[in-house]
């Protein structure tokens, strides 16, 4: 797998798929158990310092010093990266205004909200002008409004600096909205790698979902003979059909249903999303909603506890 310079690349997968592990290896925190990885031509195993100089990273879990002000956190970071005083001051001003924290920069981080901390961490990752920025689940546990704000910052980075950005997420819409290419990871393996548009196109068009209380198998046998349908799936009382052009295919389905005398109680049609792509490649849903949310609650709880 190769990621181009200036690309906004997404690593997509359920919790535990290996996204953070991959980021940890690329950022020299973990050493790879096998294989090799390079960041701008530098081996992450043997040229750690060269790699570290070129990367910025926003970790999944908080990594700020709570007792310092926002400004001090950034300044400390600048020192770690060997920036001199005037450059540090200049950069602090710039990144603070980028994430709209100008008015809170002299406040202690303890008093920041979750969204503000995240923004500060993004600002910190940008302090030393890295060639590539890793964002590990940048919007995990944030409210929709803050998420949208962070998306804006990320897009801005790409436009203004032309920075290479690698983002991990398990939110499908996030990857869809931001990334020029995504890799779908499951159990530590890349199962798909392409732009969101072509990944969705591969699915074979729109998804028609028909609710059929009785006789779903009968209709399924019938539609299997139709060439226009790319994929068929039946689940409980719902029949899902993937067709290139959903609108014009709809009447055909009704005609077929009438021929075999099966009643359709409701119909919905939607454009495919990355969730469908994931299901196609792994054969299961990206997340069992309840399990993930419980996990997230635990994570948030642990975060609060660690403060």
């Amino acid at each position: 797998m190769e990621i181009e310079k200036g690309e906004l690349f997404g690593l997509l997968g359920p919790n535990g798929a290996g996204k953070t592990t991959l980021i940890s290896i690329l950022s020299t925190i973990l050493s790879a158990s096998s294989g090799k990885a390079f960041v701008f031509g530098h081996d992450v195993g043997s040229e750690q310092d060269a790699v570290r100089k070129r990367i910025g990273i926003v970790f999944q879990d908080p990594s700020l010093d709570d007792e310092l002000t926002g400004e001090e956190n950034l300044d400390f970071h600048g020192r770690l990266y060997g920036m001199n005083r005037s450059v540090r001051r200049e950069r602090v001003d710039e990144v603070m205004s980028l994430v709209d924290l100008d008015d809170r920069r002299r406040d202690i981080v303890k008093t920041y909200s979750g969204g503000m901390r995240r923004r500060l961490e993004i600002a910190r990752g940008l302090m030393h002008m890295p060639c590539v920025l890793f964002l590990d689940e940048p919007t995990l546990g944030l409210d929709p409004q803050t998420r949208r704000k962070i998306w804006t910052y990320i897009k801005e980075l790409k436009v203004t600096y032309g920075m290479t950005i690698i983002l991990t997420t398990h939110y499908m819409d996030e990857a869809d909205r931001l990334c020029s290419r995504v890799a779908i990871i499951d159990n530590g393996e890349i199962v798909a790698l392409d732009s969101p548009t072509s990944l969705k196109r591969e699915l074979g068009g729109d998804v028609l979902q028909l609710e059929i209380p009785v006789g779903i198998d009968v209709l399924m046998n019938k539609v299997q003979t139709i060439d226009e349908i790319n994929r068929i799936k039946s689940e409980n009382q719902t029949l899902s059909l993937h067709v290139a052009d959903g609108e014009s295919f709809l009447p055909t389905v009704f005609k077929l249903a009438q021929e075999v005398d099966v009643a359709v109680t409701s119909v919905s049609m939607r454009k495919p999303n990355l969730e469908d792509v994931f299901i196609k490649h792994t054969g299961r849903e990206i997340r069992d909603e309840s399990v993930t949310e419980a996990k997230e609650r635990i994570r948030l709880f642990m975060r609060r506890k660690s403060k």
Binding site: S24, S27, T28, I29, L30, D49, R52, K53, I55, I57, F59, D61, P62, S63, L64, D65, D66, H77, L80, Y81, G82, R124, S306
Partner: protein, 224 residues
Amino acid sequence: MVLPLLFLTILGSGFNRYFSYRNNVSYMEFVGPGIVGMQLLFASMFGGLSVLWDRQFGFLKEILVAPVSRFAIMIGKTVGAVTTSMVKALVFLLAIILGGLVNTSLIGFVLTLFFMLLISASFVSLGIAFAAKMEDPHGFQLIMNFIIMPIFFLSGALFPLENLPYWLNALTLLNPLTYGIDGMRFALGGHNVFSPMIDAIVLFGFWLGASLVGTVLFKTMPAS
């Protein structure tokens, strides 16, 4: 800093009347350097363990991805922890000198600072070594109960080591803090047991060993 203060004032006052050691050495005079050593031991060990908190709060990752050598990070941690523990212990040192509990000269004072530095550096390194190996701060209590307290009680900080039962005496001889406090006693009134040269050499050796182990463990420590 409360615990050493309580030991010095309450325990010191209480034992003062029932204490007889050599030629009229008062308990306050005897225990003064011990309390300085106690403060150094506690502050230094916890200073070293601060690596553990950095890891717990995720801040360690921020430092470990920076283009800074692991060795420099460890040195920085050590110097920082030594500084804070020295400042804390210095408060007690000045208190016992200004309070007239111990007699010392300028040379004695400088020599005391030298021993304090050795004690602090030794136990900071030991703390870092433990922090690098421990999973989370819950092991803290364990460290407190099974490492710091025995080191403190077996160091001769609170009572003279002469005439101890044989097995206890052997344990105190294995304790680096024994030599640190003995060195300080030499510099603060001359109530030492060993030669100050031996004190310095043993402490220096321990510091070298602890920092070596600490460095190796620190370099291979996980970031989170």
